[in-house]
């Protein structure tokens, strides 16, 4: 460990000697494993091993970066980068990298995820659970992914840190009929808390309920969102809290700081805590990560910042760097006081949506978008599921939906799925009233 930290530090010192004003180097030693499966069988098992140093430096407010893979000729890479900085253009809004030395929380990786011997066993736990729930004819596919990274990060401005990050996730989609499916996910930073059968059972349960779907009707519905689909929603909302997205008008939160953007019941925070598959103890500037409540009881409290965006907004960094753009790491919605069943009762009549994909915007600043629910879509009446539906699309607006949040469950699930429910989140069941659905004509 110390050897790699020393090497990373040496790269920073060399860059300083060559004239850089500020330098950050991050060395990642990563092991990634993935099992992909479909039709209840494993298609491929994949392993990546990576050893890279990401180097970012500033020279007279010119920000340049490189990634070093070949450590035989680091000097040449550094000279080239400094040369690039000298012909690049000054960015007046660059506010420097974070300064000071920090104490970090202890990393809590699971060493068992460094090299999992039999990952396919976990896949079959999920497939079997789906079959148990929905019958042996069920057709399941998905991925099992494991990550184990050691991070050595050194900044010329003071921060020096080591972090070890582990993650494991399983995503399973089960089909009971050609157009009837359910999706379940299981995400964790440790193997101990990872139960693939939960994901399989959920996928199977929804797939069974989803049989014989009918084309749904257009209109405004009270919608109960499952934690998985709401993970997609939370990802969009949190992304719009990034100060960079506000600056480039790809956010509904422009000029909304301190204003009410949601009902009292909505509190959202970013928190890359130890349980999360996005666990981390410092950001890309070496600032300790922490809980950041960005919507507090409906009021937009802060954007997510790095040092540069914080200076522009006269705020403090929130530990979300991204050297150009701050990012949310792991979004948490504060639990409500209702059970899942009470949400359905409160909604009375409406739709229960379990997953979505392909969210696209007409206008980020205005918040107009559409997204396509998939897997189980259910019509319920008087709180009871009556009919499986298909071929509906949410065509609505971010601020309108935020404003119409009516109920939140006590129960939450840690979810992540592909690029659709990303970043990971701790997501509850949520009732939003008056959601507009459209369909093909």
């Amino acid at each position: 460990m110390n050897d790699l930290l020393d090497r990373t530090e040496e790269i920073v010192k060399k860059a300083k000697r060559l004239g850089a004003d500020e330098v950050i180097a991050k060395t990642t030693l990563g092991k990634y494993r993935q099992v992909r499966f479909s039709n209840n069988q494993v298609d491929i098992t994949v392993a990546w091993n990576d050893y890279t140093t990401d180097l970012t430096l500033a020279w007279k407010k010119r920000l340049v970066a490189t990634q070093i893979h070949d450590f035989h000729d680091v000097d040449a890479s550094l000279k080239q980068l400094i040369g690039l900085a000298k012909v690049s253009q000054e960015n007046p809004t660059f506010g420097g990298f974070a300064k000071g030395s920090f104490q970090y929380s202890k990393s809590q990786p699971d060493k068992k995820l460094e090299d999992l011997e039999s990952p396919t066993e976990l896949v079959f736990e999920a497939i079997n659970a789906a079959e148990k729930e929905a019958g042996s004819e069920i057709d399941s596919g998905g991925i099992l992914f494991t990550k184990f990274e050691d991070i050595y990060q050194v900044s010329s401005e003071g921060p020096v840190g080591f972090d070890s990050r582990s993650a494991v996730e399983l995503s399973i989609r089960a089909f009971s009929e050609r157009e009837a499916s359910g999706h379940g996910v299981e995400c964790s930073s440790t193997l101990k808390d990872f139960k693939p059968s939960r994901a399989g059972a959920k996928a199977g349960e929804i797939a069974k309920l989803a049989k014989k779907p009918k084309i749904g009707d257009e209109g405004a519905y009270n919608v109960v969102f499952d934690p998985l689909i709401f993970g997609s929603v939370l990802g969009v909302w949190a992304g719009m809290a990034s100060a960079f997205n506000v600056m480039i008008q790809m956010s509904v939160f422009v000029d909304k700081l301190g204003k009410k953007v949601a009902p009292e019941v909505v509190t959202l925070k970013d928190n890359p805590a130890a349980y999360s598959m996005a666990q981390r103890v410092f950001d890309d500037e070496g600032v300790p990560t922490k809980e950041n409540v960005f919507i507090d009881h409906g009021v937009l409290k802060t954007y997510l910042h790095n040092t540069s965006t914080a200076k522009l907004f006269k705020a403090k960094t929130t530990g979300n760097a991204g050297l150009v753009a701050p990012n949310p790491w792991n979004v948490e919605m504060k639990p409500g006081d209702m059970s899942k069943e009470e949400l359905f009762k409160e909604a009375n009549n409406g739709l229960y949506l379990t997953n979505t994909w392909y969210t696209r915007f007409q206008n980020y600043a205005r918040g107009d978008f559409s997204t396509i629910p998939r897997d189980g879509i259910f019509l319920f009446e008087k709180g009871e599921i009556k009919q499986s539906l298909k071929d509906l699309r949410i065509s609505d607006n971010v601020l309108t939906m935020l404003g119409n949040v009516t109920g939140i469950s006590k129960e939450r699930q840690h979810v992540h799925w592909w690029a659709e429910a990303d970043p990971p989140s701790l997501s509850p069941y949520v009732l939003i009233k008056n959601v507009h659905m459209t369909k093909s004509k």
Partner: protein, 472 residues
């Protein structure tokens, strides 16, 4: 790139009990430039380089990659891939469709070498666009521009004797603008892509296109009226034709999707064995022929050999309205008793090659654009789009117009604000009664795979006329 290490990896793999083995190396010089409001936020420049092996053993596939260039590391990843392949333990054993080995070197020429263009000149290609926007008379509230330059060297060898080397330079640009007028905003983007040298910028005409975008967005705010929802004729400009060709023809014709291999991510297809749609089934009118062709010179999706060493060729996906030929790699072709048609692509050494489109377009017809419009009594001309999406069976799609006009008695009247077509693949392609003769292409990044593999593609085609579709 050290080819002898790649050769060693293959040789070492062949010493094991494998049914098939390949080793593939990729080295790319990558420059990335990001500007906000015409000011450089960051310039990154790096060389990414590594290699992978893919092995079939006991009817299973194992894949492993590394960016450490040593024979010792080569052995490590071969051992891993072999172990994983054997552990797969499939009931139905996987194999690849038959192919002969190929020995080939190919490359894309640059008229103006990217390597000779100084970084400051690369930057100014984008700052000039912002200057043009600032002086075009439209209130542009924000811009974000991104440029990607990749000089990609590949080396591929397999246990059937293939040995293929290639060099392809690719340039891409993405520009996003927000126009604010009368207290309202409208947003739009353009993407550009090219395989070749810096001459790309002469082809793209970025300044002209972005100023046009700014004017279109201002007109949406200041002049456009909503369309009265109902059945009417719709003229799709080449950009809308192209996205429809990509989304509701190219994607559902990917054989791995048809077979379910992408079921939990990008989804399946409305086309499947035993279902309503298969090869030979009608999906559109006679006027509709959609092709995918990696060999279009200088296209963003250009290649001559795919990442399994198969020669690229034009594929006719829908032919005169009939489902004609799927996109295949060697794995899907073997499962469906076909031959690969060179559709296997991987974005890097650490990703498996999967079935992908290259440049998907509607084949041109005989009419002019004017003739298509002249014959419309009442309708909408949707020249370009903003929001779009499609379900994971590739059957229910939606395109929202960016630049659009009302047509009355064969003439364009006034801009229409955000017209929407939301319909099925069958209805969309069946409604086409004529296509124009001039094809135009747009660059795009196609997403698929897990972890995601965004591959460069073209989407395109001529203008198309759809009769009596619901527009709102």
């Amino acid at each position: 790139m050290e080819e002898e290490i790649v050769d060693y990896a293959l040789e070492y793999a062949q010493g094991k009990k494998v049914e098939y083995a390949e080793a593939r190396a990729l080295s790319q010089i990558q420059d990335r430039l990001i500007l906000r409001n015409g000011v450089v936020e960051a310039y990154t420049s790096a060389i990414d380089s590594g290699f992978c092996v893919r092995i079939i053993a006991n009817g299973g596939i194992g894949f492993a990659s590394t960016n450490k260039w040593s024979k010792e590391e080569a052995k490590t990843i071969v051992d891993l891939a072999f172990k994983y392949a054997k552990a797969t333990n499939r009931k139905d054993k996987l194999r690849f469709a038959e192919e002969k080995g190929v020995v080939k070197k190919w490359s894309v020429a640059q008229k103006k070498k990217i390597e000779n263009v100084a970084p400051e000149d690369r930057i100014s290609a984008f700052t000039e666009v912002d200057k043009a926007l600032a002086s075009c008379g439209v209130k542009v509230a924000a811009t974000i521009s991104q440029c990607s330059i990749d000089l990609i060297t590949k080396y591929f060898v397999n246990s059937e004797g293939s040995r293929i080397s290639s060099f392809v330079p690719k340039i891409g640009a993405y520009l996003f603008i927000t126009v604010a007028e009368q207290g309202k905003t409208e947003q739009g983007y353009e993407q550009f892509g090219y395989s070749g040298g810096w001459e790309a910028f002469g082809v793209w005409k970025m300044e002209e296109k972005m100023v046009h975008n700014a004017n279109v967005l201002r007109d949406v705010i200041t002049k456009a009226k909503a369309v009265k929802p109902g059945n009417m004729d719709l003229i799709c400009g080449s950009e809308v034709t192209g996205i429809a060709a990509h989304e509701s023809c190219g994607h559902p014709m990917e054989a791995d999707r048809i077979l379910g291999r992408e079921m939990s991510q990008a989804g399946r297809s409305f086309i499947y064995k035993g279902g309503e749609y298969w090869i030979g089934t009608r999906i559109g009118s006679d006027a509709v022929t959609v092709a995918d062709d990696p060999t279009i010179e200088n296209s963003y999706g250009y290649y001559l050999y795919d990442d399994e060493g198969i020669k690229a060729r034009r594929r006719f996906l829908y032919k005169e309205g009939i489902i004609n030929e799927f996109l295949h790699n060697r794995e899907s072709a073997a499962k469906l008793g076909a031959r690969s048609n060179g559709s296997s692509r991987s974005i890097n050494y650490d990703r498996e090659p999967i079935v992908r489109m290259a440049n998907t377009f509607v084949v041109p017809g005989k009419s002019t654009e004017e003739e298509l419009i002249e014959d419309v009594k009442e309708g909408v001309y949707m020249k370009s789009f903003t929001e779009w999406n499609i379900d994971d069976r590739r059957f229910n799609q939606r395109y929202v117009g960016k630049e659009a006009y009302l047509i009355k008695n064969g003439e364009l009247q006034y801009p229409v604000a955000r017209p929407v077509i939301e319909t099925t693949t069958l209805k969309f392609w069946s409604a086409v009664d004529a296509v124009s003769k001039k094809v135009e292409y747009d660059a795009a990044t196609c997403g698929k795979g897990d972890p995601g593999q965004g591959v460069p593609v073209y989407t395109g085609g001529p203008c198309m006329r759809l009769r009596e579709v619901f527009v709102k």
